[in-house]
């Protein structure tokens, strides 16, 4: 089935929407009725057919509109894309992995022809055709990381490994949950995670770092993370807090079902072959509460999770101010029945 791309916006009139198919394949992040941090890492890909886990880089109905939104954000603030000089090789690694994966996984949308280092890339949804020399940056209109991530949904951090740590030395970040590449660039793993409450005490980051450092190429992993966003806005950066922060106050019992969105990040981890860096793609999915509650299991479970969550996490995840309205709304979908294990909706 050839994908149909939505014509939609992630700002202004917020015309973003999910079709029924997109709702059913939404990566609902809660596999039980309560939530606490865990290093919930599993191999990627390998999810069920049709799910967002099926392919190495998921391309869905939002692709073309998301790339248009990224271009707007970059136009307004070029610092959303940065690469320290030593990270260019990692950028080529990333470009290769994405081009190879997409052309193999979506042959009707993307094509890559390689003759040694002379490459020919075709991106049909965006109408791009590019001949270039692999590893020669002068043959692309911009650096390799910027070039490929302007054509790939989700944010990207490229992490250099040295001194037994990981350093965020390059990235393309325009759909972030309230963090800033410009602020974090050059920081190490513990520095950029410093704002996360409780996790340090639980030892989550020590274990996660150890895991990542031992990761080999060809062993891709993934995890889901989540937060809450008012309106389907991709660019919820600290730089633009003045634009989206006040929107938190526009939630009412009447509009919460349409306005309040669950924001899920499908995070994947890749060891890059030439540079030994780690690529950290963070793909963002948005669904409003109304859409989520079309799946009875999810409505029931989301009510319990958000009702009982640790107050510090409600604060950190950005919805403490609206927690009561959200939980009151979700209560109507909780009939008290037990929920099944796992994240997928009941059939």
């Amino acid at each position: 089935m050839t994908l149909q791309f939505n014509d939609e916006t992630f700002r202004g009139d917020y015309s973003y929407y999910n079709t029924d198919r997109a709702i059913r394949r939404f990566p609902f992040p809660f596999d039980r009725d309560d939530y606490m941090y865990s290093v919930n890492i599993e191999p990627h890909p390998g999810g069920p057919e049709g799910s967002v886990f099926e392919h190495r880089f998921d391309v869905d109905e939002h692709y073309v509109s998301e790339m248009r939104d990224r271009a707007i954000t970059l136009d307004e603030d070029p610092l959303r894309c940065q690469s320290l000089p030593h990270m260019e090789l990692a950028g080529w690694d990333l470009l290769e992995i994405i081009m190879v994966s997409k052309s193999e996984d979506y042959p009707d949308l993307f094509a890559l022809h390689r003759d040694g280092n002379r490459w020919h890339w075709i991106n049909r949804p965006l109408g791009i055709e590019q001949r270039f020399t692999f590893l020669d940056p002068t043959t692309l209109p911009c650096g390799p990381m910027e070039y490929i991530t302007r054509q790939t949904q989700g944010d990207f951090a490229l992490l250099d490994e040295r001194e037994g740590n990981l350093w965020m030395d390059a990235g393309m970040v325009t759909s972030q949950a309230d963090w800033s590449l410009d602020f974090d660039v050059g920081m190490n793993f513990f520095e950029w995670h410093a704002p996360v409450p409780k996790a340090k005490r639980l030892g989550v980051f020590d274990r996660a770092l150890k895991f990542l450092l031992a990761m080999r190429q060809g062993q891709e992993y993934r995890r889901l993370n989540w937060t809450m966003t008012v309106n389907p806005r991709l660019d919820t950066s600290p730089e633009n807090y003045h634009k989206w922060g006040p929107e938190k106050r526009t939630v009412t019992p009447e509009n919460v079902g349409r306005k309040q969105h669950l924001r899920v990040e499908l995070q994947t981890f890749w060891r890059l072959p030439r540079s030994n860096a780690i690529a950290f793609p963070i793909r963002c999915y948005l669904a409003c509460l109304e859409d989520i509650c079309t799946q009875p299991k999810w409505g029931r479970r989301l009510h319990r999770v958000l009702r009982d969550i640790d107050p510090a996490l409600a604060e950190y995840k950005g919805f403490a101010v609206n927690q009561k309205v959200i939980v009151d709304y979700l209560a109507q979908f909780d009939d008290g029945a037990p929920t099944s294990a796992g994240i997928f909706p009941d059939r």
Binding site: L84, K210, A214, R216, Q217, G218, P273, R274, S275, N276
Partner: protein, 316 residues
């Protein structure tokens, strides 16, 4: 644990009486994953009841997907892995080889790379030289060996004015002070070889005021043999015997105890295991635990460490 490929031994070449080069290729000539300089693979050797897994640095061009090459020094007093490679492996054999991992990568922010190799420690630098050449970065290689015969890397090194060979039997020993003096700011130093050489470079660098973060080392060692010992597993109540030429990790694997691992050389930290009770002395041979952690005897690295004493109970 790591993903593996079943590869064919495509060439076996004796470089010196003690060092042999092995080339692995895909049986259907498929491309192997490219890698970065300094990476190693874990090679599996099914030796009777024992499954040996040794890590070896890749010496071939990281950008060449047609094959992987390693150079193995025969250690006759070792546990038998290198002897297996030298006496049992022939062209046409198929062996399980892991995908590459790198615990000794170049820091490509460096203004210059100074590579210091002792003996078989030349191996990771052979692939790094390809990468440095590809990146067009300044470098200097210092290769020390006792005798010319021991310097197996000589046959594999390119001719270059930036490559200096120090053969102590010929009277041109390496002078670390001279090497470290006068390097441009932003130089990184990499050392691989016997622990004595690594310590000497680390100490000399500290004396010359070099920051620790620009000194990189890899002592890629196999677990040393020793006296047999036994451990108790707290969760299952089992008692595991470890043979003289077996590592604790190998003994646990032979007993079907699942344990995570990556490098099997005491460097990556993946197999770290808690110690519940220790009446005796853990012989820490790893490079992972800190001095305090070693003294505390609350953690052990099963890939490298041994034990002498009355009782060792592990959190397994």
């Amino acid at each position: 644990m790591s993903r593996q490929m079943l590869l064919e031994v495509a060439a076996v070449e004796r470089l010196t009486p003690l060092v042999t080069r092995f080339r692995f290729e895909h049986p259907q000539k498929k491309a192997l994953p490219i890698f970065s300089g300094g990476a190693h693979v874990v090679v599996e050797m099914p030796d009777g009841d024992l499954l040996r897994r040794n890590s070896y640095s890749l010496i071939s061009d990281p950008n060449d997907p047609s094959g992987y090459e390693i150079a193995v020094r025969r250690e006759d007093v070792g546990r038998g892995g290198s002897r297996y490679m030298h006496t049992r492996v022939a062209v046409g054999d198929r062996m399980r080889v892991s995908v590459p991992a790198n615990l000794f990568a170049l820091d490509i922010r460096a203004r210059k790379h100074v590579l210091i190799a002792g003996g078989i420690g030349i191996t990771p630098f052979l692939a790094q030289l390809h990468q440095i050449d590809f990146l067009q970065q300044p470098f200097e290689l210092r290769y020390a060996a006792r005798t010319r015969e021991e310097a197996a890397g000589l046959a594999l090194l390119p001719k270059s004015g930036r490559i200096h060979v120090h053969i102590s039997s010929e009277g041109n020993r390496m002078d670390l002070g001279e090497i470290l003096t006068g390097q441009p700011l932003g130089t990184h130093v990499y050392v691989c070889g016997p622990t004595g050489l690594i310590a000497a470079v680390t100490d000399a660098a500290a004396r010359h005021g070099w920051p620790k973060s620009v000194i990189h080392s890899e002592a890629f060692t196999s677990p040393p043999p020793g006296m047999p010992f036994a451990v108790m597993l707290a969760k299952s109540g089992r008692r595991i015997e470890v043979g003289a030429h077996q590592s604790l990790l190998e003994a646990l694997e032979a007993a079907n105890v699942e344990l995570d691992w990556s490098c099997r050389g005491g460097a990556c930290g993946r197999c770290e295991t808690g110690v519940i009770s220790c009446k005796g002395q853990i012989e820490h041979n790893d490079h992972w635990l800190s001095r305090d952690e070693r003294a505390g005897q609350k953690k052990i690295m099963p890939c490298m460490s041994r034990f002498t004493g009355d009782e060792l109970v592990l959190d397994l």
